[in-house]
């Protein structure tokens, strides 16, 4: 079994699943109906992308693994998503800004992953990129609207920026399996995305009249399975049914 390739694909899948799950928590709670529908659609795209990656990972894992077993039966330490994906939704501003940071990263990542020599990864990237383009556009507009909006909205997105910024460093800080995947031609060296990511984020923050934070100390560890206390609660809710009633189907 190609463990490094498996870890790399699981990392991509876990990012999409955990952020998708977080966004799905807004379903029925959005600030207005249209935006409730928007964030739920974005959640659905994430779950769809995760399914495609998990299906690909399952063929490598073998031993009876399926997309469901990979999503529902692994534990916190096995998950390889970036910490940014699992932080709590907070208010609308925090959710929007998290989505914007993530979409800017996924947009650059999937653009390059289309050149992967793993045909399945290239195909998933090509498909996902079209969806992420809409997410990035939507979240960029909201960041600008909130930053350059009322005193209240500006305070909230400012707080979100302060809270989330330390989680952004991990996006472009490659784990060992990412470097290996890149040198073998099927993955992307995310450190090569850093300057483009910073440029896109800065231009939107400036348009939102928000100061781009200094790059200080950054959180990391999610890609290696060292998570915040929040991931366990996500998994407890998400995995409960399959763990309590193994193999249950709708």
């Amino acid at each position: 079994m190609d463990t490094i390739r498996l870890n790399y694909i699981l990392h991509l899948a876990d990012n999409a699943l955990i952020l998708g799950h977080r966004n799905s928590e807004w379903c029925g709670h959005g600030p207005v109906l249209e935006q409730d529908i928007a964030i739920s659609n974005i959640a659905l795209d994430g779950l769809g992308q995760a399914r495609n990656f998990y299906q690909s990972a399952a063929t490598i894992a073998g031993n009876g693994a399926t997309e469901d077993s990979l999503a529902y039966l692994r534990d916190v330490i096995d998950f390889k998503n970036c910490l940014l994906a699992e932080v709590p939704n907070g208010d609308w501003a925090q959710t929007i800004l998290r989505q914007f940071f993530f979409s800017a990263y996924q947009y650059l990542l999937y653009t390059k992953l289309q050149q992967s020599n793993d045909g399945q990864l290239a195909a998933i990237a090509e498909k996902s990129l079209k969806e992420v383009s809409y997410h990035l556009r939507w979240s960029s507009e909201w960041v600008i609207r909130l930053g350059d909006g009322t005193e209240e909205s500006r305070t909230r997105i400012g707080n979100a920026l302060e809270f989330l910024w330390p989680y952004t460093g991990e996006l472009c800080l490659p784990a060992g399996y990412e470097l290996d995947a890149a040198s073998n031609g099927y993955g992307v060296d995310v450190s090569s995305l850093q300057s483009d990511w910073h440029q896109r984020v800065s231009s939107v923050l400036e348009e939102a009249t928000l100061a781009v934070p200094e790059t200080g100390w950054m959180q990391s560890g999610g890609k290696q399975g060292r998570h915040t206390e929040h991931l366990g609660y996500i998994l407890a809710e998400m995995q409960y049914l399959q763990r309590a009633y193994p193999g249950a189907e709708w």
Binding site: E34, I42, D45, G48, A123, K130, S133, R137, S140, E141
Partner: protein, 184 residues
């Protein structure tokens, strides 16, 4: 389901069978936009006829190559079930449905007939793919025609609508809120 189509066993060439498969697939509708067939929608990428196994006892088989519209489209599983049932009803024995992700589905693949059906159903059909599919914020909006009064004086309410493939618009003239099958 009565489609008025012949049973496939009365046909014999692979070309005839392939045409027949497409006619059968024209009767399989998208459950979320039930005026469009899966052929209109452009998600059928290819059809291969599988010869009956030697030794007799079998019948013609078919492999259908399907691509999803969006990664998370919740309708894809039920669409596959409907494709399988329609082909079984017309006498195919072995049916394989294979998912293709690349090239990625685009609204440019929706047929002209499909665009007309969408409009008649009250959904503005997609424009051909343009610069609007980029991630830049607050870009100039395309003029989308109101399917009710034909006015181009309309506004985007939300890029995300009742299903993944649609955006919400409102007509400034007749005030009708409507879905736009957004370009992808």
């Amino acid at each position: 389901m009565s489609t008025g189509l012949e049973n496939i066993n009365t046909l014999n060439t692979q070309d005839d069978l392939k045409k027949q498969v497409y006619q059968i697939l024209e009767t399989v509708l998208d459950p979320e936009v039930p005026v469009l067939s899966v052929v209109d929608l452009g998600i059928i990428r290819d059809v291969q006829i599988l010869a009956p196994p030697s030794g007799g006892g079998g019948g013609w088989g078919v492999e259908v190559f399907v691509t999803p519209t969006y990664s998370g489209c919740p309708a894809i599983d039920i669409i596959n079930v409907h494709i399988r049932m329609a082909l079984l009803q017309h006498g195919f024995k072995e049916i394989r449905i294979t998912q293709l992700l690349s090239p990625a589905w685009t609204t440019d693949w929706i047929s002209e007939a499909g665009r007309e059906k969408l409009k008649a159903y009250g959904i503005a059909p997609p424009h051909y793919r343009q610069s609007v599919c980029t991630p830049e914020a607050f870009q100039a909006e395309e003029a989308i025609q109101c399917p009710l009064c034909q006015s181009y004086n309309t506004r985007l309410v939300s890029q995300f609508g009742s299903t993944a493939c649609k955006a919400l618009y409102q007509c400034n003239d007749c005030k009708e809120p409507f879905d736009y099958f957004k370009c992808h």
